[in-house]
Symmetry: D2
Subunit: 101 residues, 4 copies
């Protein structure tokens, strides 16, 4: 089952600068070979359900190993059974609507 | 790795009444043997990371099998490496602070 | 416009114990006169859109005033134009489905 | 108080194609004069708290007026009292960490 995910990892009890941890998340997604796109409030990623979820778990494990005592993560995810859809498709679909309005 | 999760399954393209689908989610969590608590905007569940994520995946599979073409799910989750904490602990901790203020 | 909300306030850069801040959130909702229910991963609240949003803003202002430098908050919210629905209605609707299955 | 927000509007009971509604959300943000960036799973927007929240409320009102009976919206938001930070700053900060690792 394919899934499109947006997730945000919020380290708690590890200071106020979170960008080193977000960079680590990006490296983990890169190594996992998952298509991902960083944005201002999280990271979009698409792939097989189990691969994506394993990568998010790996982020928690890596950050705890780096000394983060507590991690809050938000995940928004979507699956469809009617047709295949990529992250790029979703953005293009909205832009097409905007272009013709 | 233990995880505490709150998740909300939003079936799209399956009409306006969502309670039959939320009931199915509850049944899946029950059969999975996971401690879960329904609330007005989702369900709280705690357990091993892989068990909880497998249950959420099973919810998507079951709802698609029932004809829901598109599912949006929100997940908020927390892990800690400093100490064990249950869902009940979290609520009690806040109530204790309120009682002494 | 009535809204039903679940929100979770995550203070960042203010240590690992979050319950004092969650207790402050509860006090603010109480003073605002909004019906709210604490759960393990956040707080459910219902009311007029502007009243609920003003209360969440007040939480951010209060926590920053207490020295929290950075706050991440998740909000899930629902509005309906087809009929009135309370938080209690939502839970009862699912329980009724479970009882008859 | 400045806020950086990611939000996703999920119309329920209005069919399976959501892009016309997301396009309407984009138009509302445009008319509101708020800096916003569409991504595959939502829209990032930054501005004054009340302006951003008024725009999200306007999205709910517009979609209900177009016949959407039920709307589920996710909001992730962040405020800081320690320093000013823009959405572009957040992305650049992570990219700088990646470039030097």
């Amino acid at each position: 089952m394919k899934v499109i995910v947006d997730f945000t990892v919020v380290p708690v009890g590890a200071g106020i600068s979170l960008s080193p941890y977000v960079a680590e998340v990006e490296r983990i997604l890169q190594r996992a070979g998952l298509h991902h796109v960083l944005h201002a409030n999280g990271t979009n990623v698409e792939g097989e359900w189990d691969d994506v979820m394993a990568a998010i778990r790996a982020c928690h494990e890596a950050l705890h190993a780096q000394g983060v005592p507590r991690i809050h993560t938000d995940i928004k995810l979507g699956t469809r059974s009617d047709r295949a859809q990529s992250m790029a498709d979703k953005v293009e679909s909205v832009k097409a609507k905007l272009a013709t309005s």
